[in-house]
Symmetry: C2
Subunit: 367 residues, 2 copies
């Protein structure tokens, strides 16, 4: 595998010193920033995540901050999810679409106050879209990337570790809600969320200066919990059906194709820029959709490109994420399949860079 | 150095098969796509580039295509460079600024026709800004990323190699102009441009299917010219003063701070979104500016973060690119320095991750 050439452009994070000291072995680049991908090995990291607790540097989840009288209006322009009932203290997973209904990002919107929001983004410069819209519509809102670097604490022992550092009341935070918690005299937004199915929290660390003190405190408090540095795990997230923007979906896809129709209230999301384009697909449904699939045989090669999927001799889709699952003893995969071939149990052929394999559509994801 | 984890999200290019066969050793990620950084070694690649000819996969220079009646108006909204006198067939280096005058990108604009432009971008999702502006101002224009992957032919023998594949008339293309040339019955925009000071061309390869046939034809035609696969060279581009967006400048900086004031016609660039914000700096000049610098001592470590620069005990700037120059026997660097300390010959201190060094402001770049 090729090495990655360091440069300022591939931004380090406020936790990079800790990540390096923990022996990071591989990175990806996400939002022009370094995201660890392997510490011990993908499989060892996977087992550890499912049994213990990990601290993840997910600073790459950059925030787009909206602040001002038009913040809520702008937020609704970005997404077909109806935000009218959303109270401060809530986190909403929101598909962001352009005027054609194509996905530009799939972030979590954090409502800090009526006039202040953070959008915790996946891998695209959503800031530029939001700034362009705010400028073009002359909205009364400030749009910026604040000095906020999320740190995730994930795994079955996450509650125990967090309680030791932030107090027992952190256990009461409900899924996709957040509370304010103190560390060294500073207040942090802490949400019960994260890019795994093992449970845990995301700490929105505001201020690069407090990053390493918090990192060190978590590791010190968790020694007997076998806390380790970790990262989103390529296998675990496929098992759990956690989509990856840029891998499993791009601006070619509508939210409905991505199986995110339940996050679209297209009729009532008045003001959403992509609303007109999405009304028909919201009613009739998509022609292709994300599916969980298994791929037969031994370990698949790296899914470094979209693998065409064939049924009855025609291309009917593509697989965009795939990995060997130690727990399920098969290759788990995420793909997009046309409706003619998307029923559970359908047997398809998939073309990897190392040859053809058989793939089977699953009834759902594993976790 | 850590390895890079492959995924579809870090897009391969239509030339990736050729790049891999040529033995690429390292990559960076640029516009969410793989950009080779090393083949033999940075130094061996550097000497070869200065003496022979290289073929570079610079597909990462994604194009933003503007098409329609409002294309020219939109293009002028994006930049403080006055585009009124620009004829089709010309390429302009254009700073792109937001409403505060902050740099969003520093691409080359290619004017194909009055109503059709390509913007050949540096490392930011400029497409999202342009789409947002087009939508917000309700412009009559299509904005998209076409299937165009630039291939650069760089080095002193570039003219010879290109003439063998595209005919002798390619030699007549003037700097930052382009012509249309044929290969296997297909027409390509070919400009005399590129991210080196060694001369050469950029071929805007339209259609992924023709990419490898063209790659192979260039290598076959150039055997006796010692043609090799190459890539933008970290040392040569610093010597030449070729700035790198994300390294040497970000949206914190105005074009004037980046030494790009000569590409700003702020008074007459009517319609430019950042015009109001830039009028004062255009008149009074910036408080800090890009400078070429040398750093004493032996080879500097990787410049993987901004290095603070001190003068008279205060922080007066930062260095953002640095490398050992085999030809100049010193460390060459690019930094941003406050006007109190930017005069040629000023001795400064620079803080690298491996300790303090002495740096000296130069009168200009090396090439």
């Amino acid at each position: 595998m090729a090495v990655i050439s360091p440069s300022r452009r591939l931004r380090r994070t406020p936790f990079s010193d800790g990540v390096e000291a923990a022996g990071v072995k591989a990175y990806t680049v996400y939002n022009r920033m370094l995201l660890p991908t392997v510490f011990e090995s993908v499989e060892a990291d996977y087992h550890h995540l499912k049994n213990h607790v990990q601290v993840w540097d997910v600073s790459v989840e950059r925030q787009v901050e909206l602040r001002g009288p038009d913040a809520a209006r702008l937020m609704q322009m970005l997404t077909p999810r109806d935000l009218r009932g959303m109270l401060p203290g809530r986190c909403f997973y929101v598909p962001i679409v352009d005027e054609t209904g194509g996905m530009l990002n799939d972030p979590v919107a954090v409502k800090l106050a009526e006039d202040r929001w953070w959008i915790s983004i996946a891998d695209s410069d959503l800031l530029l879209w939001v700034k362009g819209i705010a400028n073009g519509y002359r909205l009364d809102v400030l749009v910026d990337e604040p000095d906020v670097s999320p740190l995730a604490v994930q795994g079955p022992k996450a509650d125990d570790l967090m309680a030791r550092v932030f107090g027992a009341s952190v256990r009461d935070v409900k899924f996709f809600r957040f509370g304010l918690f103190e560390f060294e005299g500073r207040e942090f937004v802490i949400a019960r969320s994260g890019y795994s199915k093992q449970g845990g929290f995301e700490i929105y660390v505001e201020g690069a200066d407090i990053a390493m003190p918090l990192w060190d405190a978590l590791f010190k408090a968790g020694e007997d919990l076998e806390v380790r540095a970790g990262c989103p795990n390529a296998v675990e997230r496929i098992e759990g059906g956690l989509l990856s923007y840029g891998n499993d979906m791009t601006d070619d896809n509508t939210p409905h194709e991505c199986g995110l129709g339940r996050f679209c209230d297209t009729q009532t999301a008045i003001g959403c820029i992509g609303r007109d384009a999405l009304l028909r697909v919201a009613k009739e449904g998509p022609l292709q959709q994300i599916r969980a699939m298994t791929i037969d045989g031994d370990r698949v090669p790296s899914c470094d490109r979209a693998w065409p999927v064939y049924g009855d001799g025609h291309k009917v889709g593509q697989i965009t994420s795939a990995a060997w699952s130690p727990d399920h003893h098969t290759n788990v995969a995420i793909g997009m399949v046309r409706m003619t071939h998307w029923n559970s149990g359908t047997v398809l052929e998939v073309e990897t860079q190392d040859g053809m394999r058989e793939a089977v559509v699953r009834p759902g994801f594993w976790a």
